[in-house]
Symmetry: C2
Amino acid sequence: MTVFYRGSGDAPSPDRPGRQESLRDHNLTLIYRQIAAAGARPVSRADIATSSGLTRATVSRIVEELVAGRLVAEVAPEQRSGARRPPTGLVLSREGPAGLGLEVRENYLACCIVDLTGTVRHLTIVPGDYAGQAPQEVLAGIAAMADAAIAGAREENMTVVGATLAVPGLVDGRRMIRLAPHLGWRDIDAGQLLADAITTANVPVTVDNEANLAALGEMYASEEHLTHFLYVSGDTTLGAGIVIDGHLMRGARGWSGELGHVSVDPEGAPCHCGARGCLEGYASLETLRRAMDLPASPELVSAIAAQADAGSPAMLAALDRAGVALGTVLAGLVNVFDFDTIILGGGYAVLASWLTDPVQRELDRRVLTAGWAPVEARPSLLGPDAAVIGAALTVVDEVRRYPPGWLAEGDDKRSRARRESAPQLL
Amino acid sequence: MTVFYRGSGDAPSPDRPGRQESLRDHNLTLIYRQIAAAGARPVSRADIATSSGLTRATVSRIVEELVAGRLVAEVAPEQRSGARRPPTGLVLSREGPAGLGLEVRENYLACCIVDLTGTVRHLTIVPGDYAGQAPQEVLAGIAAMADAAIAGAREENMTVVGATLAVPGLVDGRRMIRLAPHLGWRDIDAGQLLADAITTANVPVTVDNEANLAALGEMYASEEHLTHFLYVSGDTTLGAGIVIDGHLMRGARGWSGELGHVSVDPEGAPCHCGARGCLEGYASLETLRRAMDLPASPELVSAIAAQADAGSPAMLAALDRAGVALGTVLAGLVNVFDFDTIILGGGYAVLASWLTDPVQRELDRRVLTAGWAPVEARPSLLGPDAAVIGAALTVVDEVRRYPPGWLAEGDDKRSRARRESAPQLL
């Protein structure tokens, strides 16, 4: 028997032959990551030379390029009397390239700027009722927020090098919104519309599902080294962002995360999707709203939390039912995918005091390996802003993955071209 | 607000500074992959120079190393009268490094050898009742099969450079069997025991879950470019191997694949794991056996297929119930992870005529995006031998990923050391 082998070795290789000129890019990336890894602690050229094994001359030449390109900043050494003058420290620059995060939801628009150090330098939220509004109008509104943020960033010597839009729906090709049911949008080329509507700069725009971006935001922001987790976004509908081996998993068509339509009970109540017994019918905020006969409102999650805080037995029971159903489904996903952490985000972050216990109980009870290594369910760190901050961080992450592509950051077209061809080094 | 950024850029970089000496390894890998990608079609040195952009001299020097190291073979050109003598072709070698696959199951032991081209050169299956036998004895038995296969491979000028053992259970660190319930094994250092028991060669042994290895085997053997699929192994118990973006996903602790303990009905029958309503109670072969009151036997799957073939209404109904439960769970996993293919393997491959329909029906009905892009359920290509062939292919895949590490393949210790440090280039 012959297996016609089509393993990874058969895939057309993206590599080019190794040549001398690529070494500069390679070493520049290496040095940049070393400075990034030190966080707020400055490192010296000598430190870099020692730990990288590169010559002092090579390190100095590359550091000069990084400083000139505003990817790295020099900080004055601390004065120590009597001692020899300590070396100049290097840190990531708070000026230079920055990322723009945008978010459209049925009840708010959001916009933020994050600099290379990961600091949120700007964050605006505009509440409103955007469900059913014309996509062009809504996107024009968010473009105006983006233009103001870009102009403000310029005043602080930052250059916005890319924008990412978070949407509650299925996205094709990082650009087309295939379906965003609660906005009432279908087949909208949001990437193009938004790029056209932003007038202050020629920034490349990508579009992604909000739970995906929130998961990335949580990964970047977490103090643990999170590599295998499921971010669960609980709002009107449910979504999930999947991180495995430190990478976001979008699925075969980019449509991963439809957590709301996992079956809790195959013979359960009919769902609007056409199936029966879907998790959304047990655990979405909309389901809680109907069960408790609350009015539809952009402030629904606060209303639910207020009733639970006041000790309403009916609300507490409804939250427990939601948590049990959610925990049952999550335990199944952990059994198959072996996540060690579940992050409760979106509205679930606000309701975590009541949901974490039943979710954790079902995980402990239903995960086969829970006895050897428990799975932790916990609320999101970034809370309701996780998606828009995560969106901006994805832009920053691209710069940090492959800094050589960004040294010509004043030239937007070149940035865009190089960005598309940047190899995945990490 | 400051997000202390811990993105991928913060992770300690595995890269070393780029230096001249690594270019040879880089270019050697590039050339090897180009020859591998052509499959059975020979490529010439000139073809390689043209498509890689490397000089003819560099290509010739590296090809010479590959031929001397028995990673590549030269094939005589076809004679064409009158024309200029065509160039010598290069193909992957059928001699040189080869992979050894081994498998322990409750009802058989298996052993196979696969060469660099992906051809199965040797396959032995020894049926028996291995459940509850002492691990040392069973592993001694499989080591004897391995020794015979290694000796046979030597006679055909192959050198077995590594072995992978497939087991039905949870594996830690690619070596320790944490739990294999149907063998009755717990905390067995199978990697060490097997490496000690194989006496004809000093081969490094890794241990992995059978569904993981079968999934890899299916990926390597498939003519489509499978990148996002779930391999489902249906036997006494259920297992799953997960491939996302072309990579096997083992999970945070390496314990992914416990498909049998996903809930079908949270209030269902108690499961031996302590939870209720687990899929295993609906869809394992053991559940079918009990429902149909069949005797326990290593030939159980054939007995089930025979009854279904004979048109037994009770058996057909039992298979349909199993397929509906399986399809319901799989639809949930597809909703969350966006697989485009489900492969029914192990005993399910034998029963696919009766299981595929109900599974496909539930996928079509319950997957939210099925209307846009259907998900296909189909039987495995490699059938019951998928795990042992996949095990051998993983060894071959390591050679193909990083051939420079294998040019000293006569020296086992060096091979092992280089293998452990081989970068993941693909």
